[in-house]
């Protein structure tokens, strides 16, 4: 059962094409890693999956991204898409003008959920899920910006998870974290897989091998190879893929 199918996706910044006719599909409740050298279009690809790309002035997308049988570009509106497909950014970006609590519930409030008891419950559950609860439970009123980088990123993950998205997009979520925090996020991804489809961009080949079920290798905006992580890492079909995962470039 495919959760998300990408069909002939191309993307542009102004006149510059950065993604070329990408086809692939993501099975439900799996972790899919997107790897490739810097500038190859990983972030752009991810942002096309929840219609964030079109927010950049002059940016353009062609092709289809089908979520549960519906094209997110022609059959859904962007707000609905983004509620169903959550996103964690490369740089932790908690709202500095909001408390930790308000950060977690920001998405829920947008959905109109205001019942204090429900919100309280979700805040506790989500912060526990990302392993932040014990560290912050006594000062939920503190600004989200006063946390350490690792804590901020986990807060952002909690914020993205609060609305229970069906798909979670993560753009190098651990690149600004220390090893301990990275390990926690990786552990969290393994748990989340039970009910979420996760697409994660990573520069860290080992991380991709550790946590993903499927791996896509993108090079110069083109999908070079896509398949089960084990196969990609043990017997890559394309020489470029092999070169990349053995660390001989990028």
């Amino acid at each position: 059962m495919y959760k998300l199918r990408v069909n002939g996706l191309s993307a542009w910044f102004q006149n510059k094409q950065v993604l070329f006719d990408i086809h692939l599909e993501f099975p439900e409740k799996k972790v899919i890693a997107i790897i490739g050298p810097s500038g190859c279009g990983k972030t752009t690809f991810l942002r096309c999956l929840n219609r964030m790309h079109e927010l950049t002035p002059g940016a353009r997308v062609e092709g289809k991204v089908i979520l549960d049988g519906k094209d997110i570009y022609s059959e859904m509106d962007a707000m609905e898409v983004r509620r169903k497909i959550g996103m964690v950014f490369q740089k932790p970006n908690p709202f500095p003008h909001m408390s930790i609590y308000d950060n977690v519930v920001a998405g829920l409030k947008l959905m109109g959920i205001r019942d204090r008891k429900i919100l309280d419950g979700i805040v506790e559950r989500k912060l526990k899920e990302v392993g932040l609860w014990d560290e912050v439970c006594n000062d939920l009123k503190r600004s989200g910006a006063q946390l350490s980088g690792g804590q901020q990123q986990r807060l952002c993950i909690a914020r993205a998870l609060a609305t229970e998205p069906e798909v979670l997009l993560m753009d190098e979520p651990t690149s600004s974290l220390d090893p301990a925090s990275s390990a926690r996020v990786e552990a969290l991804i393994r748990v989340l897989k039970n009910n979420t489809t996760i697409v994660i961009v990573t520069h860290n080949i080992q991380q991709a091998a550790r946590i993903s079920d499927f791996t896509a290798f993108i090079y110069n905006g083109k999908l070079i190879e896509y398949g089960e992580t084990k196969e990609i890492f043990e017997s890559p079909k394309d020489p470029l893929t092999e070169k990349y995962i053995t660390g001989r470039f990028g």
Binding site: G58, N93, R159
Partner: protein
Amino acid sequence: MKNISKIIFLENFFKLILKIATLIIIVIFLLMFYSLFERSMPSLMENGFYILFGSSWDPNIKLFGGAPAILGTIISSAIAIAFAFPISLSIAIFYTEYCPLRVRPIISEIMNLLAAIPSVIYGIWGLWTISPIIKLNFQEPIIASIGFIPLFSGPAYGLSIFLASLILTIMITPIIASISMDIFLKTPILLKEAMFALGATKWEVLRHVVIPFARRGILAATILGLGRALGETMAVTMVIGNSYIWPFQSISLFSPATTITSKIASEFPESVIDLMHNSSLMSLALILLLFSISISFITKFIEKGVKYR
């Protein structure tokens, strides 16, 4: 070694210059305040609170009540801010969120241009062009329909506190709008995107991210606009009608009125031969200065409270 000591010397030198410059500004301000105070003294001693609350002004019988001018200043500025604030924010929101990139430079150029027009031009334009238009198409119909409300009663003079407020609105809108535009553009894109990624609409991003971030800046811009409105002299003098009937004999916004600045501008030359007259005008100037000072203090105060809510 020689180089480093040179750098340190230069740094200290510049710090010293900055300190001296700051000191000079403070000294100039204090001197100004003092000389204004000194010149106001005769009138303040003689008239006391009448200068604040009195409603009549007649140098021939030594009557110096400043209330109509003071109220004229406050009310015309308040109306101008009340109009300019929402208009400026709308312009800024349109500019940053909705208008095509190619149109942006046009809007910001127009704002810069409007902000740079000398106030006497606004005055002339208000006097010759806007005044008759407003009189015919706005004041007269309103007086005809809801003129029984004292605030909108006739006759329609054209030149009025209403027209002054309108011209002030047009003068301060570009100031508040262009600062707000810059501030809105500085909202961290990452935070806007974070809100979008949660499924927010453009409007929700504005409300929950852009505006909270810009709040302090918008406040500062508004205060700047208010300061401009309070102190504006030329344009106001030309369009307000310089009459002391408002608000005690006629409370109508369509009646001619005066402000502190237009009072001073129009009477200063004749007052130099009459100590009490001149000193009373200086008292009004002192009151205006105190307004500006208290506004900047209040701003500091609010800013502390607003710091990200």
